[in-house]
Symmetry: C4
Subunit: 488 residues, 4 copies
């Protein structure tokens, strides 16, 4: 006759070493079965030592228990009088102070939500709202939604990896952290915290010109093969930029310079300006005005200007007079590092960047990157063969990463998303951000039947809807090509 157990006795066996469960009044030892449970060990361990019938029954066909377990796994029955029903199994626990465990966050929106709550406790919250206008932000992301995937079937997708390279440097994933300023506002570990997270994945990081830590501090603990870039805003006072380049040249972890071209004058960041009014006793003027003053040195028509918000401070002093003819040669004099041109939005500029006369070795498009990629493909696809194209902006999902790679991008940058990760959980938050995107990217590649990132191509996506938006007006490309050939 079968042995009868007290529930209290069963309850002791709730570890991976000895795991019992009660099912239909019987007691089973499922310790050996843990590793082969199709649903994983954890779901069983959660119920170990308890009556699991209610959760087990409606999702398992009858008879499967006998099929999967050996007869001797059934130890006996439980004394029903000793079993106390858990009356409140679904009651959520009291929310703990501080952020939730990073592992519980399932996508980038959730991370942003947690980060927003964390930083809203600080007076600096306003910095974070200083983003580009809502239309652009939404457009940059929605344009990925309007590209459809073309999954293929019957392709062995057992293997799938994200390895790639940038400018000859091996990387663990085609996702990098693009320059984002003032990381310490979000978390005390700052840009070094981001570097720590990137190290875990072999991910590349571009250090902002306006970082809240010095480049030396950020790369201090770099792994031997870790790849950094450094973002340069050329200052009106070139001596300052040259001194900075001299410092950068000494840091072996920094493999290239990112020359930012799309903010010769800062965009208008109204949220930022508005927040700088808090507690201020004097009215402030439009940030645009402040920028113009520093740009051309002449006062505005309407009288006394203001200081603008944090965003304005960061860009003050940037040189608006950069040109193809002057700037790249100057830069070549002060560094041997390869140059990535950041902020290109037209096929004409992409073409110029790809000509040998440009010392650029890669380019990084500005939003909407999808448009720029499709413009290049339409007008001058040879650019993809000559230089690497990186894109930046609007990435929220691994499918977005895949779509950008299919369109010809070599790597895909995260800006604000990395900062949200840092603010949500420090280095662990950035790691979680990268992990989610890596997981989603691989899942998507498998659906497409693709093993490596360089196999991704236009045949894997349907861009029909976006193509109807791509520029088809007058192109400067013809004259540019003729001029280039004439100079050969």
């Amino acid at each position: 006759m079968a042995k009868v157990f007290d529930a209290a006795e069963v309850a002791k066996h709730n570890t991976p070493e000895s795991c019992w469960v009660i099912l239909y009044g019987k007691v089973y030892d499922v310790t050996d079965f843990l590793s082969s449970h199709p649903g994983g060990a954890k779901i069983i361990l959660k119920l170990s030592g308890k009556d699991a019938t209610e959760e087990y029954d409606p999702i398992h066909p009858p008879g499967i228990l006998e099929e999967e377990l050996k007869p001797e796994a059934c130890l006996g029955t439980v004394d029903p009088n000793t079993v106390s029903k858990d009356e409140t199994p679904a009651k959520p626990q009291e929310p703990a102070a501080g952020p939730p465990p990073m592992q519980n966050l399932l996508n980038l929106d959730e991370i942003e939500e947690v980060a927003t709550k964390q930083v809203s406790k600080k007076a600096w919250a306003y910095y974070w709202s200083a983003s580009d206008d809502k239309f652009s932000k939404r457009f940059n992301n929605e344009i990925y939604r309007s590209i459809l995937l073309r999954p293929r079937v019957f392709i062995d997708c057992t293997k799938c990896d994200l390895d790639t390279s940038v400018l000859g440097h091996k990387l663990g994933m085609p996702i990098y952290v693009s320059p984002a300023a003032m990381a310490r506002l979000g978390h005390p570990s700052g840009e070094a915290g981001i570097a720590e997270a990137c190290r875990s994945f072999g991910a590349m990081q571009v250090i902002s010109n306006n970082a809240s830590m010095t480049p030396e501090q950020i790369v201090k603990d770099a792994a031997p093969d870790q790849v950094f870039g450094w973002q340069l805003y050329v200052q009106v006072d070139r001596k300052k930029s040259e001194a900075m380049l001299a410092r950068i040249n000494k840091l072996k972890a920094i493999k290239f310079i990112v020359l930012t071209l799309d903010a010769p004058v800062p965009g208008k960041r109204e949220e930022d300006e508005r927040n700088s009014l808090v507690g201020a006793s004097t009215p402030v003027s439009s940030g645009v005005k402040a920028a113009e003053r520093s740009a051309d040195g002449t006062p505005d028509v309407s009288g006394p200007g203001g200081s603008g918000g944090v965003g304005q401070q960061l860009f003050a002093g940037t040189d608006p007079s950069l040109t193809w003819q002057e700037t790249l040669p100057w830069l070549a004099k002060h560094t041997d590092l390869p140059i990535i041109l950041k902020g290109l939005q037209t096929h004409e500029d992409a073409y110029l960047a790809s000509t040998p006369r440009s010392t650029g070795r890669a380019l990084d498009t500005a939003p909407p990157a999808v448009h720029t990629l499709l413009e290049i493909r339409k007008y001058c696809p040879e650019v993809f063969d000559k230089i690497e194209v990186h894109v930046d902006g609007g990435i929220r999902r691994g499918t977005d990463v895949v779509k950008a790679l299919c369109l010809g991008a070599k790597a895909v940058g995260l800006g604000r998303a990395a900062l949200w990760g840092l603010a949500a959980g420090g280095p662990d938050g950035v790691r979680r951000t990268l992990q989610i995107l890596a997981d989603e990217t691989k899942s998507c590649m498998r659906l497409l039947g693709v093993e490596t990132v360089d196999q991704l191509g236009p045949q894997h996506i349907n861009t029909r809807m976006v193509e109807q938006q791509i520029y088809d007006g007058p192109s400067a490309l013809g004259p540019l090509r003729r001029a280039f050939r004439a100079k050969l």
Copy 2:
């Protein structure tokens, strides 16, 4: 002189056997008229024994009463003092406990609403929220909204029937229940309850690989001509799949195998994962990670993974290494049943499925099915002549069914809709679901001037708006066709 009745006397005649009504102070015996009332008997019976003047008057032209009734039907007048006005005719009754009568539900949205309330009372509610992401779900349905019907006039539509066949088996309607897991979560009758409902309509049912009942239990009460398919996810441990196929081969009600190809790795089901956190004391990781582990056997970068939600459990162990070359021959060795390939989304894969070398006999597209159908029509319409194409996903109305059939589908599958029906009212709820769609489908066919489902074609719908979304990038079809011809 006319007889004068008490209202109480009139009130007794409120049955189909003796039906009196008061109109304009006169008492009429309308028993004989019940069957010929253009509006049907019920509306009269509802008012039988009562003064119907207020409801009768404003919708009937004067004089029609005399036209329709024989003079002797007027029995006399009613004593006005005996008539008591019903003061609260429109007050709704107290809502009863449990679901409303299924017959009161008029469309699939209402059934889903009722089902949601039913299952939300259970702890398992979270299972039902584990659906594909909201964007896809909405897109799959809205794409049907953007197809317009082209009704034709002056076509005799007295006759209209839904009879069709799949793989040579006669069916009562072109609507089938596609594989949907874990039906017993919604209703104790489970997949057998769905089978019972399908039996009433001659509708086909595909049994999920993850059914909460065994195939034997589900087909136990099958009618002699009832048609079942069985869905196969190929396991990494092929022996298990082979054993399962051996069991299936013995069930005569199962006429074909549906080989699922579009989930070599499971999609990310965030709602599902989130719900598995309720009451859990340890953080869980992204379900994607769990799936990857089972897929490639290597641990993830970020450390210990979790078990994921219910959805993750179901897919664990699925073999991601299926290929055209290996899998179909292996399958042919273990069953003589025809194979339907499920989850194709591109014209290239549809073409491959239609070649003689494929042992596939039909295919079932994945969402958005409308895109796949239009892609096939655009690039390789011959596929429709060679194999049957079934579609699945996004069906909410009979017009959706008709539109899919016009585009070339042979049969149209319901997934979640059948589960909602089951959860709302058990087998009766599924029957109601099928009845509503059948009624709507026939109504729509009549508007188009069509008597049988095989008369439906592209001339009956305007797909102009959707065509602007269909892929026109590089096609692998040319090489595929050449390769195929070379092998002939």
Copy 3:
């Protein structure tokens, strides 16, 4: 020295015969100026006898008073102590019971709103909600919004009139009331009330087959040149239809028959069915089922059916077996009146209707009429030369009327809008509806530089956005044309 008046004295002069106002402390007699005030007399009369300074000042340039009035119009000054400021000039009056004056309603939406309130007090309110589904209703109207007008300048638009003709009968406007059932539900004057309103404008009215009054009652007070049509649903019992036609043939005010073709089976009117549940003690089935039973005489699979809502009652008994070959000849045997075919939605059917073998003399498209008109123009524009095309559905503004006329329609029908007008204010409400649309239509014609409705053409509208939706699939027109020529 100027005379000084008491405010009380001034207050007596508040009529068109003697109109004084106080401005800047002075008293003016503006009686003679009333007729020449650019803003009209009424605005002055509203302020007559009072101090108008506050309202006058900010909208009139200084000095214009002296320019416009003769010196003797200034009678003197007012004693400021006698002027009491009206403290609450802007306070709205208590809303009166019943509908507001019709003249205060400025567009069709406002009329619908008032009507909804009126009829919601009745138990029959539910009838009105029984409309086509919200998607179609919105689509039919929004499609007019996506057509842009092309106003022309420097064209003398002093004259502008709406005169037109239908089937040779002169009409005062190209707007008619299309058949709408059960008008007495909305207002006791019923369809005769609509006829009364149409008489004021020389507008055409088509009497519904399901009118709540007899045709004889509706046309009783017709003006000598008033134009009516009569809508025929062919009954399964043809004798009934023939008897009805015999009655119609005797009514000289009825100039044509409208044969309705687009509702061989009724659409599904869920709101209507739902409302028939109010107070009902037995479950009802889908209305679609009821219709099918009457259509093919066979019981449905799912057991006992119900009666459906009001809408279902009206359509019961309609013959679904009409054909080009049989029905028109039969009709010609029973009436000499011209036939308008109602409910055509494709260019193929429009072409068939325009061939001499059809005894049709005009056709009336079903929604979305804009699509049908553009389809005809694209595939067989000769149809417009051979027969008149009327359209119906979605009209909310005079610009909608103009757009339909530009696309080739000869007349534009109002369905529900006329019923809302009737429900809002009886015949006056319908008159207001027609007046608003007539005013808006003429305003729009003037903007386009057009004097008469037959000058309107495709050059006056930009349909580019809609054209991208027009059917371009397989057309049955080629075979139809060949067949037609072969028979010549």
Copy 4:
């Protein structure tokens, strides 16, 4: 040893002449650094005399303090016991009565919001709601949103100015104030207040025919080179118009006449009419009716009409009979000023305006101006070479201004926006409006790599999405061109 300061001592140095701050417990004299701080002096002055550590620390990399300041700038340390933390630094001040300082308003929406609050305190508020219908208003603005910019990089944008000219008159910006009636309703300074603001920027102003001040009053304080236009609605009584022209001819500040063509009958302004009902004791009729009466002199069908709202009053008496043949020659007899034709919406009318027979010297399109510009470019781009094209309507951002200029416009008009500015803050509010747009326009030009407004062209914008809406129906241009050539 370093000197120790009391916080009170430090607090005295809070001016540009002597500016101290506390950082990390040390006291710095930053007076000399004020002018070279990349973030501007103001942000430092805000913190002068205080402990700035909390705000300084998280946005400056360590060590930068020593880099930027000379050693002697460090004066010593602060006695920590004397420093009192400011506990409520972020608490917003009590909102003051009246409008906020104009400088705090960052975009046109904010100005409109403030203006709405200001004027809502007045009984005349309803005047402001009398705008075109919401669909058009939204469409006119959203169409600018659907045009994308094409920023170019590596172009020296140090210089950037807005200078331009209209009809040979030099202007400080390509933005002008278009005719808007009744400015004194918004602010007592009225149209003269707008003129004052335009003077600060060298901006052009067109005076409304319905201004609430006389032209003489408006131009009284004009600068020697200030440019005004005057808007003419031709009256039915031509003598009045001729008298007015005689007055205008004498005003040297007025450089041209704007002949308004797009309102021969006023549009329907329902909000305006509705508001005229407030406090009225008699019902009013549709304003359309009132307009028609004055237009053709015949009474309407439906009996007594009303006076309509304010909008109706303004347009009463306008002559609807203008033609190319009659009106321009008549006008030429009464003025030597150049004529701008206002309200053109089609390429046909634009072409007619550009022929030598027209005495027009420029034209001003009506909304949607973007459509008209693209229509001209598509059908008759030579128009841009022959006459100036001004546009009006829907401008909310400097990017909108730039887009219109890229499409070929010579100048861009603000209507309601100027009135909102005036209502928000009088002349300062209009100045703020113009300043914001000027700043935004220059910022956008710099992003495009453009120094002067005449460099802007179609290559700077992507209009692909809008082009799909441009008219491609029958054009009257062919016959017009032939007729024009025949007359040469």
